[in-house]
Symmetry: C2
Subunit: 431 residues, 2 copies
Amino acid sequence: MNILIKNAVIITMDSESPIVKGDIGIKGQTISFVGKDNTFTPDRIIDAKGNIVMPGLVNAHTHTPMSLLRSYADDLNLQQWLFDKIFPIEDTFTEDDIYWASMLSCVEMIQSGTIAFADMYFLNKGTAKAAIQSGMRANICRGLQCFEDKPSFEDDERMCEALELYREFDGSGDGRVKIDLSPHAVYTNTPKYLEYIANMAGKLGAGVHTHISETFVENEECIKKHGMTPTALLDSAGFFKTRTIAAHCVYLTDEDVNIFREKDINIVHNPTSNLKLASGIAPVGKYMQAGINVALGTDGAASNNNLNMFEEIHLAALLQKGVNKNPTDISAEDALKMATINGAKALGLKNTGVLKAGNNADLIIINIDKPHLTPYYNAHALVAYSVQASDVESVMVGGKFLMEKGQIKTLDVEQITYEIKKKGDRIRCHM
Amino acid sequence: MNILIKNAVIITMDSESPIVKGDIGIKGQTISFVGKDNTFTPDRIIDAKGNIVMPGLVNAHTHTPMSLLRSYADDLNLQQWLFDKIFPIEDTFTEDDIYWASMLSCVEMIQSGTIAFADMYFLNKGTAKAAIQSGMRANICRGLQCFEDKPSFEDDERMCEALELYREFDGSGDGRVKIDLSPHAVYTNTPKYLEYIANMAGKLGAGVHTHISETFVENEECIKKHGMTPTALLDSAGFFKTRTIAAHCVYLTDEDVNIFREKDINIVHNPTSNLKLASGIAPVGKYMQAGINVALGTDGAASNNNLNMFEEIHLAALLQKGVNKNPTDISAEDALKMATINGAKALGLKNTGVLKAGNNADLIIINIDKPHLTPYYNAHALVAYSVQASDVESVMVGGKFLMEKGQIKTLDVEQITYEIKKKGDRIRCHM
């Protein structure tokens, strides 16, 4: 099927022509042209007058099923939040919970313009099935934890789960689903187990997704225990040889920054979650100036409390300005890069994140014919500072609409919210 | 007319019963009861099942007509932004520009759940007329500036404009519109002119709306020039004897905080604007602990770039946690107080901000039957962290719907956006 999207303002994220006023031609799963091409013969024409078309957003760090715990526990100390609230209720979760919560999150992500996400959780088959059904792209990983060394890790339960997930789902959904390996964090794993994971990642050639230096305390304790920062410890354990997603990175040292640059590690900035859990504000302006790829994520909905990437774009652009007292830090365009092309790189999506001929037709259509988006002067600034998630009208992945004119095409929203409300009633009894 | 809003989750902001599941009865302009009253005979029944009803939001510091400059100039140094971009284009503004831009802002504010605003700008008759037509409540003031002393200020052009505005519009729109007096800031006025304004405010018994300690440089220069902080200078000039709205307050000293508490001065926190213009982050947690009333505002759309109070609520709750490394700072409920009851106090709206019998029927209805607001556990957290402006379905002021089920009732949205687009075309030529 050939689709022609006409008369749009196109934010391409292509440095050669960042803004194009014109058309996009889509042939099957791929962008055929951006601009004008009178030789293109469309089967279907979509008039995008009064709309901005841009690459779909990439949520590069989340815990998808935690939407089931949205507003379950807030404004608490981290220890109380985790140990008294989150961990006990997570212990009750079944694969059915994970499946429906992931379905709910896919709906929310699609409705807010997200086309791909990197997920870390457990019982992940539910998330993989949801990703396949939704039509989204997803990197999924089983968070690995091991507090005690064993003579051999070969029958380690969590790794067995991770490997089964890898065998069953890596490359599934027509290649949309990838399985990464995930050391949850340095403070939840022994150095030997970290080496074991790093070896396995190398053997499989799999990507790695982990939390690094989220809190000041994490750094302090790691240095005290191992004489190294979390980054140095992971490096010494043999990580960073395959594509790596490093979430948070609020407290990287200059030496860590050098390792990140040398090993081309992808940072994921989670501004809302870092503020809400009182972790701090990651100096991502500095990281970007050092040449490191910085993507954006929402973290889980329990510490956000949503999966709205427009809020993260907005915060990413605002926070560095205020904290560094420099209004030119992280321009609107930089913030959009973080949420698109940089996120795509972090997830290893080679042909996503830039609208240009030959790339995947992974895009969103935003209706800017609204009072809060009027008048129109500058597309990058309008999207970064004024557009709301609810202004996204259509979402396309690989040439297929996941949402069109506000209607989700791939999932049954009514059934999903029905199932989630039932589960919410059960969870409310634990409060 | 008696209106019964049924089956809602009601966030009252009344400390005696913060959350009520039940009904609200409205008789004319006033709330008749909150909870259950079988003796109430409604002329109209609205089923609010799956909805949260709460007090309408108060935007306690904005420059309404600046929506005409949304995304006109961003990511620039303050001097370049103000002197090269904002001031030159503002010099071209006519009262017709102000009127239509204020109309646009009223639409945006109503659509995002705001029922009252405190505005500082010029050619304010346009704003007053828009406020009257929109049905919103508004405190409007002419920003006063005077860089050179004169033997007498009696024929001062700006003050004459302010007094004419006061005479013509104070108490207009059935009492919905109030006119305050506004020394723009200490750095744009001589001490003698400040005394003149303070005297005039005292004479009229008018409220005062000003910017205080927005930037570090403002404080430094004021101390260098006058040997006092901006707060102390205004105090010595005779201010703070009538209700005062003090916007920003990023850099109050401990002595300033004492003056604020003693004189019951209302602080307006503008988190987005303070970040975007790189002013810094106001320590509002500390101010609230000191017992000062802290409200919330968007500032103008040129430094935000919208008038969405939900974003300010969200940021107010998040920022103090991250900066103070304390996840219990500014709870969800505190952030909602800032945007409702505290804002109402700042604007002198005695019967607004709390849903209880006898108060004005100034409320909003939020549809929470949406995927990104599911499941439901906690109303305050859901509104502060997850609700989006676009989830507001209905807005009522004094018992009258300004918006119902997404339809603006008091303004012609199509005509307003048509007029603004024409003006945008003119302004674009200056870019």
